[in-house]
Symmetry: C2
Subunit: 404 residues, 2 copies
Amino acid sequence: MAIIVQKYGGTSVADPDRIKDIARRIAKAKAAGDDLVVVVSAMGNTTDNLIALAGRVSGNPSDRDLDMLMSTGEQVTAALLTMALHDLGVEAVSLTGTQVGIITDSAHREAKILEISTEKITDYLKRGHVIVVAGFQGMDNSHNITTLGRGGSDTTAVALAAVLKADVCKIYKDVEGIYTADPRIVSGARKIDRVNYDEMLEMASLGAQVLQSRAVEFAKKYGITLEVLSSFTDAPGTLVCEEVDEMEDMVIRGVTVDCGEAKLTIQRVPDRPGIAATIFGAMADGNINVDMIIQNVSEDGFTDVSFTVSRDDFKKAVRVLEKVSSMMGAKGVSSDEKIAKVSVVGVGMRSHKGVASKMFNALAHEKINIEMISTSEIKISCVVDASDADRAARALHKAFELDR
Amino acid sequence: MAIIVQKYGGTSVADPDRIKDIARRIAKAKAAGDDLVVVVSAMGNTTDNLIALAGRVSGNPSDRDLDMLMSTGEQVTAALLTMALHDLGVEAVSLTGTQVGIITDSAHREAKILEISTEKITDYLKRGHVIVVAGFQGMDNSHNITTLGRGGSDTTAVALAAVLKADVCKIYKDVEGIYTADPRIVSGARKIDRVNYDEMLEMASLGAQVLQSRAVEFAKKYGITLEVLSSFTDAPGTLVCEEVDEMEDMVIRGVTVDCGEAKLTIQRVPDRPGIAATIFGAMADGNINVDMIIQNVSEDGFTDVSFTVSRDDFKKAVRVLEKVSSMMGAKGVSSDEKIAKVSVVGVGMRSHKGVASKMFNALAHEKINIEMISTSEIKISCVVDASDADRAARALHKAFELDR
């Protein structure tokens, strides 16, 4: 009998009717004979509502208190789903992260899982129960309740799949899987049948918001096959797994658009050894992650350095860079929030030449100006003006024949 | 330094503004130098809302699932109140029942506390923290979350006061204390300064809804002084404690009205030995608690037997009694839901004669018909027509000079 971990996100359990729907889905899977561990998120906007409530009692709530507060959301869903399962005659039991024995470090709001006790779960599985686990949460060694940060319930599911040696971890979403591009932007976007961990990681970090990088990293590390699929239909989803031979036929797996970054430029900085170290040392001290970097060719002993940061860090980055600018005797700082990063991702790139030139040609053909470029073994990213982003995605999707 | 347990009910923490208000109250008490353990209920109607949510996913949710669900309400309040305390610069920590180590039996929804670990609390108290405990909840020996039933947060507070050997357990309400009668009915009702445990128990079970009997029993058993007071004002409240001499001066402590019962009569039942055993055995088998009983004088070998039951059990009781009636060859069953039980309570009764006749005279003077009577060492109860109840309470309050 296979052990299967299922995970349902907030949209899939948004209201009592959806929860009853999910219960019927689980009952069917259970009747098919599998051992099921189900991980649930908080219902719909519950987490946001709880955070708003916190904002009404405190200007600056502590992370421990927020974890105490937010972890109730998943507990509520777990209790309700278990009731719905009981109503269908399915033996089931709900467990909080604490009750399972999901031990994390003490980094509240972004805790890392250290250890998971399987005793209680395997005991209930032996007795034929469906286990419904409140996702996103654990406890540290002093029994403080912790949460796992963004995408935490995915992480709970993958971690449970790893320790239980589950056959597959099914991540149920409000979409049918991973697409070659965002279907809202590219009308010909197709669902991908299989994608390998590295491609998925690149796509996740480049703006495909279906899976969080962290859960994929975990799955890769422990060799867990993920399936991303819809909780609203019965269509097969996308498998995320180790590379397989047939994958090589596809040069590019997908096109992503990320509008979450902004560009900063320090202008006419005296071109001396160590300027990069000074600029990016200051960013690191400010706890600001820098993504893409370009340095112009030096002219008259001066140069421009541009880089991108997450839009969340933008204001802080401008402040830091302005200090650096005056310290280094540069002309000043300019910035651009209206940028987008368009990327093509695929492990096939490793063995196919000419992907970059095909990409640049496709964009040139559309008269789209490329502001910055960065590459890795399996992806190429170009920063373009935000107003060109959707057109760029459509052009690339077509150029790489992803709609076929 | 005194240890004080405070308990705030749902109305006292109904919204973020109330929670901030309570935090200021706690900060003041903390600044006065006491060690504080604060027990909180769920905010306002949270528990009812959660039960309604359960009703939307299941027709018959299990008690374990309901405990899992409902216990989140108090956890939310504990987290929010702790945030509000931190905002005021007060060192504080929130703990669930599980985190405190409140061990109960496994009777979900009405669990009894078996044991409380004081280690974590005393450790935090030593470090100067205010401890905010989610009331109403514990866990059984298998780590299942349990709840303590009606008035459960009061029970949590009193139990913590007992194990911590607290100086006093302050129960904050939306009223200023225990009154000589319900002020909504009797305009001259006065706040009582002190009441002894037994009087409070009688008053609680006779309709004074300010304190649950269970918490009072616990307080009596462990000799914990309770203070019932308002979270909205700074007025002193009512002390519930062991009997003291001055208490004897008061013959009657208060007047209560209970509209929660209904009366059943089995008519013209053949008067044989054992009829009471048959009738009340059947009620006990049906798990129906019977309160007051009267049996009329036998006439021609037939008699009527009347008794009262909780209105919640009324329909079930009628069904059971109709079966008994046909089995015993009685004439039939009549019932009356429009009754009220009016009582006078006071330990002074033990040493004062004539309380009963004074009560009967006061009612007769108002032309109020007494349908049933029951007495204990410290209370006398009369069942009257529901429409006479308020008038009866006012007459008794005046006759026993409780407004002086």
